[in-house]
């Protein structure tokens, strides 16, 4: 049905369609970290309606959304990680004594807001006072 809608006369388009359906079929074998149920729940809340999902590959966009969201989060996390590493590198230059403590890679609000700004999300969230590493960074006993 969907193929018919988008199908054009050209052969290139036809190849694209088969490629797309193959990709979507491959998605069904890939289980994303973000569970389908969560995606379904929030899509439903946003007014999204789609025909019964489990029947056909082409008619199931849930997986696609789940993978896309996972990709988005992963990209943000990667950016934040880069921010974190860059910050630590600059700190390490100044203060060598804190080296051990700062070695851990921590997802902080500071890095996250910088990473999110690149993706068009402005975070003006005040970090919790309890989150401040200065308030009480426990020694390495709490490390995994």
């Amino acid at each position: 049905m969907n193929q018919n809608q988008s199908q054009q006369s050209s052969d290139g388009r036809h190849e694209d369609d088969t490629a797309l359906s193959e990709f979507l079929a491959s998605l069904m074998e890939y289980t994303p970290t973000i569970p389908d149920e969560l995606v379904e729940h929030y899509l439903g809340k946003s007014g999204f309606q789609c025909p019964d999902l489990r029947l056909s590959v082409l008619l199931s966009p849930i997986r696609l959304v789940a993978v896309a969201t996972q990709k988005f989060v992963a990209e943000v996390a990667t950016d934040a990680l880069q921010q974190c590493k860059a910050r630590q590198a600059s700190i390490v230059k100044d203060k060598r004594d804190k080296q051990q403590k700062d070695k851990r890679l921590i997802l902080t609000m500071e890095d996250l807001s910088k990473a999110l700004r690149e993706h068009g999300v402005n975070v003006k969230h005040q970090e919790y006072f309890a989150d401040n590493p200065a308030t009480g960074m426990d020694p390495a006993s709490r490390d995994e």
């Binding site: 890939y30 149920e37 008619l59 988005f72 943000v76 989150d131 426990d138 709490r142 490390d143």
Partner: protein
């Protein structure tokens, strides 16, 4: 992945806002934490994790919203993959994707899809840590079938046939109460309550009489002979009327101030208050006499008044009786009788007492009027 930065146990200590979406948000947090861990983070700040999971959730919701609007734009209510791809392109336009500059590019060969394909190929296969039950649990709603579906004709012409059928008539129609056993306890309670009230009213009346105060003139419609006899003993105004001249009535000299008052006004008020005045005449005799003197200055009119006195008394009786009969014939009481035929004796007694109560109430009001006088 460990909880970093000295916020151990913050889950327990922080007062959590209880929304309807706690479960979904908790799952989103776990999923986001898993993704962050796979990217190489070792720890997180709680606020950062909450922010990121919130944004992930909003990302899903905005995909859904955009896809829905694209579907609507195409004249559909249900979305398909191409709506999703289009909305993904919208959301990816901040970062940019390959082929975004071509306006007429095919959706099935979109750069966004290629990027996702690439990501799927590169990333580790890491399913969610827990198994999740299907949520939210949606109950199957059973709608009432319409008139058309059931094949019924709507009872009135103005009701279209696509509206749901009316419920069974016994659910909304008001029917006469036939089940006596069901009513019995309620009625009994009511009767007992009324009996208590009646008892206290009688006690009050007796106390009033024994204190020498002129109590309200009681008329007992249930058993007139006996009660009237009783009442005559306590209430001189229920005795047989005196002829004029049979008893000496001392004339009261009126103060000059009252004598000047216009007669008309007094006459009007007198018609109103006549009943009351005679009921408590004994106690207020001098004052009332004085007022009467004021309104009727000539001797002839005074005589008329005295003649009228027994007549008025007679009217009291009629008035009360008619009042009683109104109570008697009220549909409420009729219903009560019908409902509880084996309480007949009691309900009759009860009615008596209720009437007595009403009369007492009336007399209380009258005494207020007297006070105004």
């Amino acid at each position: 992945m460990s909880d970093g930065g000295g916020e151990n146990g913050s889950e327990q200590t922080q007062p959590r806002k209880s929304g309807g979406d706690d479960f979904a948000q908790a799952i989103a947090k776990i999923a986001v934490a898993q993704i962050c861990e796979s990217e190489g983070f070792q720890a997180f700040q709680n606020s950062a994790l909450e922010t990121l999971s919130d944004i992930a959730v909003r990302y899903i919701a905005s995909i859904g919203k955009n896809a829905h609007s694209y579907a609507n734009l195409a004249g559909r209510t249900e979305c398909n993959v191409f709506d999703i791809i289009q909305s993904l392109e919208d959301l990816g336009s901040v970062q940019g994707f390959s082929g975004a500059s071509f306006v007429d590019h095919s959706l099935s060969s979109s750069g966004v899809i290629r990027e996702i394909d690439q990501y799927v190929g590169e990333s580790d296969h890491m399913p969610f840590a827990y198994s999740i039950p299907e949520f939210p649990v949606v109950k199957e709603r059973k709608l009432t079938s319409s008139f058309f579906q059931t094949g019924q004709e709507p009872p009135y012409e103005h009701i279209p046939s696509w509206l749901p059928v009316f419920p069974e008539p016994h659910t909304y129609a008001r029917l006469p109460l036939t089940d006596e056993k069901a009513i019995e306890p309620m009625t009994r309670m009511e009767l007992q309550k009324d009996r208590k009230v009646g008892q206290s009213v009688l006690n009050l009346h007796q106390r009033l009489v024994s204190n020498g105060l002129e109590g309200p003139s009681f008329v007992y419609p249930g058993d007139p002979d006996k009660v009237m006899k009783q009442a005559e003993e306590s209430n001189p105004f229920l005795a047989a009327p005196l002829e004029f001249g049979e008893k000496e009535v001392s004339r009261v000299i009126l103060p000059a101030k009252l004598a000047n008052e216009p007669a008309l006004e007094n006459r009007v008020t007198e018609n109103h208050v006549m009943n009351n005045r005679f009921a408590v005449l004994e106690t207020f005799a001098p004052a009332i006499e004085a007022i009467k003197e004021g309104s009727f200055d000539s001797e002839g009119q005074k005589r008329v008044l005295l003649n009228r006195r027994p007549t008025v008394k007679f009217k009291i009786g009629i008035g009360k009786k008619s009042f009683g009969s109104v109570i008697h014939s009220s549909p409420e009481n009729e219903g009560l009788k019908k409902i509880s035929p084996w309480f007949k004796g009691e309900s009759e007694k009860d009615e008596k007492k209720r009437r007595a109560e009403k009369i007492l109430k009336e007399s209380m009001e009258n005494s207020q009027e007297l006070a105004q006088l």
